[in-house]
Structure formats: structure tokens, C-alpha cells
Symmetry: none
Subunit: 403 residues, 2 copies
């Protein structure tokens, strides 16, 4: 298949008054329940989604490639129209931007966890018993603001046990390994260089961790810090540059807000519930021509192995659909960044159902929005990054390619 | 579709105790019989394959690209997870490695045939009446060990009329044409250079052929040699490096053994029948986590235009399936390297049916394993090199890609 690069899109994209709503149900793709034989989406009662599916095109997206299980960043980048292999974003940067930290060029950000270590120094709980947000804020203040070898260290709370560490100074290159062993029963790892330019950062990070251990001694269960995903700003072309859109993000979870910011979306203040998000959408509807609305609950249900909880979240989203269609947008896309089957309790490689409604569709004539029906359409293996092109086309925002 | 390079796979692959069996029915894809309207696979009675297909995912692989008829090497490389256009292997090298010849860097290998030429020097039988293995050994000894312009020439028997010629010396570059005219009624071709660095090799090869003609005069029907596929060692990354697997090959035919060796598989001693191969699989089951089991008969039946023979081989394979499932592997893949429709008497470009069974499948709900049913699934055009990624994913051997 010929590759449509962002350069080509930039040439043919045009600004028009038409509006696109991209509703992402995080991790919506599932696997059939062992007894009932239906997936979460197929089990959910979704009259509104089914009706929209029936009028639009349906199919399955391939977020990265067959067999590849995407993390949240590549999963979303693809939905925003970016090749998720060509454009990559480090976890640390994503988390830092997600809490509105003003990341500058040259900064290195890492994602952190407060954790519990025993007397032998071995990790016994990677999440420090999920301490409260308040405790997290208190401990971050304790560690924040140190200067190590001329490098200023910012320590910022995210939520519960999670934090962000940003190193600001000359000559920092994130070619280093994680300190997070990713399992209990092991000691936190020393940060090691992956290549010589990482030396200064490794030294500073290890000194920071040594100091953190001393400073946190009396704060059991949060008596140590783990860090991973050291990274710098990816400097992506923005959606305004590429797609000529004025895009807004409606998401409550920091990582997705951060990701949206990295592709140049305005990140709107909103609440955690789908109703609060729809309210934000309605209030801001005239100010933008592209809306990314993010629903986290589907992924959480899947990660927890809670089939029923995931079904419930999908049914709640379905109830909100009439409020979206009432806005009469030109294009509505309902999609997922990856599958998170409750049966697997985690992200998976399975293709993800999507629907795209506009008045210019050649309808797929699907009667129920679900994995099996989507697999039976002609869009059963659409590279997720091409869904944005279909949305743009259906909004009549793409000029002819070539003379 | 984003390109998943071997580097990316190497980053996310992990060693686990789970086991993958890749059963390749060479050339399994077919075309409908002119009268009965069903392909070889659809005609065969295959209750066991059908049952496995029903529980797993099914589809068609595209070995190289639409319309491209693959040789055995690209067909298999793709199934092993290697892009068959990026990674190429010469026929000569393949044959040399397949007979356990110790190919060294700088050597050039060619595949050879003993053939029959008439008094005018025209080829009357490209296979010299398929002389016996004994005769082949005798004639290879006759030609072996010559030194031409400082280049040592190794001549080794393969089977029947087939041999390998390896040239060892300074400055040999395989940028030369074949001497095999690929049809009767023509004289053997002079080896010509494709570009100047091939000059020395062309000179030595032509001198070798001239000598061979003299030395074989009295050995009718094997009174001449044809050569093709001049090539050097491809130096591929191994499956252990890339996929973190401990792979074993169970194949009796030299070329496939050679190919397996080139990607770093242990090539196990086995017999020619499917039962002997399953026995080898069972005996070595605990020692490896990936098994490539090769069945040649399907391709032979196809090449011979013998529809019924190909059907029989498929039915024999089907009878062996319970012995494979009894081992309880985590992933079973049944696939083909290309199609060899009996109606075409040769390899063809048609996509190839596959099935993949694991407990993490979203089943394709196919009731009969065949071309038509596979074409009706969502995996109806899977690049063959991505089948390995699906196998790895279903064996839970791939970590998440990206944060």
C-alpha cells in the first residue's frame, strides 16, 4: 500500500466549518467470554451505537501491526493520524505533559512510583499500597527542588503512588535504563547507560535515588521511588499543521491529556464522568472543529479482568450517544486505541472495532456494533492511523491528491 | 501499515515456557478443480484441521505481495517472520547449506543439475533421466577438487541429478547469470556478468563448465552440468536473536533444512514421512519452544499436476493433527509457503490458507479449512511475515510496544 506521509496530508488538508468528533473508548476491543461466547462490546446493550453503526462504516483497526500489543501512546498517536512506529513518545514525557508540567527542550522526564522496600532493600509493593493523593503531594514536596551536579530536579505528584521526575540541566541525554525492576522481590535497579551520552543523566538519577531512599526512610509504605521511561520532548508536527484542524481534547486522565497536548490539541477542563465530558463538548462545540473525547473506564475494566464492569462502561457511553448526535457533527468516529480483553487482564494485540458515521458513507450495514460484525466488513484490517484520513475525507476536509 | 522491523521485535520479544508449532504444508494453496469446483484443500477430508480451524483464527497469507509468485526461500523466510524482499537468500547457498556443506564467507555456491545434451550440444533432458544417487555421487567425485585460476571448486551431490558447486577463492562476487536455460532444445548458456565485479567468477564458472563437458562426454545421459543461483551467505539475524526462541526444524528435504539453518534453527534428524516427523517432534518436544515441521508432498503433488496426490497428502497430514494437539502446545499454526495449484503445475501467486490456534484467539468461526472459508475472514490478506508475530503474540511472548 502506498504510504501517505504527514507531508502529503498537509498538502491536501483544508480548513472547513465541518466538525469531527472522535470518541475513544480506551481498550474497547475484547475477547469472547468463555461461557457466553460474546465479547464485552457484543454483550453490552448498545441501541444507539448499533444505530450509528448501521448508518456508517464499521470495521477493525490494526493499531500498530498484527500481533503487536500497543501501549497507550502508540495506540492514541495512530488514532490521531500519526504512524505509531515512525513517531514515538517516551513515558516520562507523556506523564510530565499530562500534569501540565512545562517541559522544555533539553529536559529529561521520568515516570515514577512510590514503592515499598523491606529491610533488605527488596521491593515488596511497587505501588506503596496506593498511597493517597495527599500523601503523594507531601512526599513530592519533600524530594522536589534538589540540585545535583548542577542539574535541577523537579518532583511532581500525579495520582496515588505516581509521580513525575524532571531533570533540567546541560548535557542530559536519556540513553539510560529504568530503575523500576517491574516486579517485587528484587531491589530497585541502578540506572545504567545504554550508550556513553547517557552518562551524566545516569549519574544524577542514581544520586537522586540514593538521596530519595534516605529521605523517605520514615515514610513506610512509601519508602522508596522507582523510575522508568526517561525521555525528552518528541517535537511532533501538530494536528493544526498537518490536518489544518483546530483540535480540542476532552480527557480527564493525565496521560491522554499529555498526549493530546503533544500533537497540539487544546486540552479542555472537564470531569471524570462521560456526562461531564459531553457537557464540556457541548459548551465548547462552536470553538473547535475536531474533538477527541476519551473514556478510560473500558480499559480499566479490562485491566481489572472485570468483564461486567467493562460492559457497564460501554452501556453508559451508549446512553450518551444521543447527546453527541444532537450536536449534528459532520463526522462521528467511535474507536479504541487497542484491545484490553477482560479475559487477558491487559492490553492485547487484537484488532479494535470502530464505527465512522457521516452522510457520505457507503454503509457497512452492520446491525450490531461488535467485533464479529466489524470483522465481516471490508474495513476489517484498517491501519489505525488511516482512520483519521477517513474522518477527514468524510468531513470533506481533504482536497484531491494529484492533478 | 507501519513497518515492524526485526529490531523492534527484538526489543519486545521475551522468552517464556510457551510452545509454538508451525506446520508448513509446502505449496498447500490451490485452485478449484475444473469439474468439481473445489481446491485440493477443500476437496480433502480433513476433520481434524477443520476442528482446529473452527476454534482458531483463519485467513489467507500474502507470501510476498499480490501477484508475486514466491520461490521456496522467500516463501519460508516470510513464514519465519522475515520480510522476504528485505532478506534474500540465493538458491545455491540454500542448497549448499542444506547438504551440510561448510559454506564460508566469500564462497560462492551454485545449484547444479546433471543434464543430457545431444550431439549438437542442445539440452534434451534437464534432469539427465533422474540418475541414481549413486551415479550422482560418482560423477561429483569426478568433477570435484579442481583449481581454476586459483579458485578451488567443490562439487557435491544432493540427490538424483542434483548437485552443488562451491567456488572458493579471492575476489568472487556472484553478480552473474545462470547457465541453465530452464528448458530443453537450447544449448547451456554462457555465464555472463551482471556487473563488472562478477568477472572473475564468470570466467572461472565458464571454464569449469567447459571442463565438465569434456569430462562427462562418456557418461550419457548425465553428459553435462547446468548451474543456477550463484550466491553468497546472507548472514541473517537468527530467530534466537530476534524472537528469543529456541527453534528446531523438522524437515527432510535439503533446501528447507538449509533455510532453517540460515535463520539459526537446530535442524533435527528425521525421516521422510509425516509420522516420522511427528515422532521427531514428540521426542524433542521438551528441548525447544518453536518447531518448524515441513511437509513437502503437497508441493510435489501440485508441481506434478496431480490433484488427487496433493489431496491425499493433505488428508495424511490431517490424520497426524491429533498427535500434535495431544502435545498441548500453546500455539499451533498450519500454513503454506506459497500456493502450488495442481491446475497450474507450479508455484503460483495465490494467497495461502492458514489457521492459527491458541486459547487467546477471537475465533474466525470457519467450519471447513479451505481457501474460500479463509478468504471470508478478517485475515484475508495477512502479510505472511506477520503470521510469526501473531504466533508470538498468541504464545504471550511479545511485550507491549511503546508506553
Amino acid at each position: 500500500m502506498p504510504e501517505i506521509t504527514l507531508d502529503i496530508i498537509q498538502e491536501i488538508a483544508q480548513t472547513t466549518p465541518s466538525k469531527i468528533i472522535l470518541l475513544v473508548m480506551d481498550g474497547v476491543g475484547g475477547l469472547p467470554h468463555v461461557r457466553a461466547g460474546k465479547t464485552e462490546l457484543e454483550t453490552a446493550v448498545t441501541p444507539n451505537l448499533d444505530q450509528l453503526a448501521g448508518k456508517g462504516i464499521c470495521g477493525l483497526t490494526e493499531p500498530v501491526a498484527p500481533g503487536i500489543t500497543p501501549g497507550s501512546a502508540p495506540g492514541h498517536l495512530a488514532l490521531f493520524g500519526y504512524d505509531p512506529v515512525k513517531y514515538t513518545i517516551g513515558r516520562g514525557i507523556l506523564e510530565a505533559v499530562g500534569i501540565d508540567f512545562d517541559v522544555r527542550r533539553g529536559d529529561v522526564a521520568a515516570r515514577g512510583n512510590f514503592c515499598t522496600v523491606d529491610e533488605a532493600g527488596l521491593v515488596t509493593d511497587r505501588r506503596a499500597g496506593r498511597i493517597s493523593d495527599e500523601k503523594c503531594i507531601e512526599l513530592c514536596k519533600l524530594l522536589d527542588g534538589q540540585v545535583i551536579d548542577g542539574v535541577k530536579v523537579f518532583v511532581r505528584p500525579v495520582r496515588e503512588h505516581r509521580l513525575v521526575v524532571v531533570f533540567r540541566g546541560e548535557g542530559l541525554v536519556p540513553f539510560v535504563t529504568d530503575s523500576d525492576p517491574q516486579r517485587t522481590g528484587m531491589a530497585p535497579l541502578t540506572v545504567k547507560i545504554l550508550s556513553p551520552p547517557g552518562e551524566k543523566l545516569a549519574k544524577v538519577a542514581n544520586e537522586f535515588l540514593a538521596r530519595a531512599k534516605r529521605m523517605l526512610t520514615k515514610h513506610h509504605p512509601a519508602n522508596m521511588v522507582l523510575m522508568r521511561g526517561f525521555s525528552q520532548h518528541p517535537d511532533l508536527p501538530t494536528m493544526s499543521d498537518v490536518f489544518k484542524l483546530k483540535p480540542a481534547a476532552i480527557a480527564s486522565y493525565p496521560m491522554y491529556r499529555g498526549l493530546a497536548k503533544l500533537v497540539g490539541m487544546d486540552v479542555l477542563k472537564t470531569g471524570k464522568t462521560i456526562d461531564e465530558k459531553i457537557q464540556t463538548l457541548t459548551q465548547n462545540y462552536t470553538n473547535y472543529d475536531f474533538f477527541f473525547v476519551h473514556v478510560k473506564g473500558t480499559d480499566t475494566g479490562g485491566e481489572d479482568g472485570n468483564f461486567e464492569a467493562k460492559v457497564k462502561v460501554i452501556e453508559n457511553v451508549d446512553k450518551a450517544i444521543p447527546q453527541i448526535t444532537a450536536l449534528n457533527p459532520d463526522v462521528i468516529v467511535v474507536a479504541g486505541d487497542h484491545s484490553t480483553p477482560a479475559m487477558l487482564k491487559g492490553h492485547s494485540w487484537h484488532p479494535v472495532p470502530f464505527l465512522l458515521y457521516s452522510k457520505w458513507c457507503r454503509p457497512s450495514k452492520v446491525s450490531k456494533f461488535g467485533e464479529s460484525s466489524c470483522a465481516a466488513t471490508s474495513f476489517n484490517s484498517l491501519p489505525a492511523s488511516q482512520l483519521m484520513l477517513l474522518a477527514m475525507a468524510n468531513a470533506l476536509k481533504l482536497n484531491k491528491y494529484g492533478a
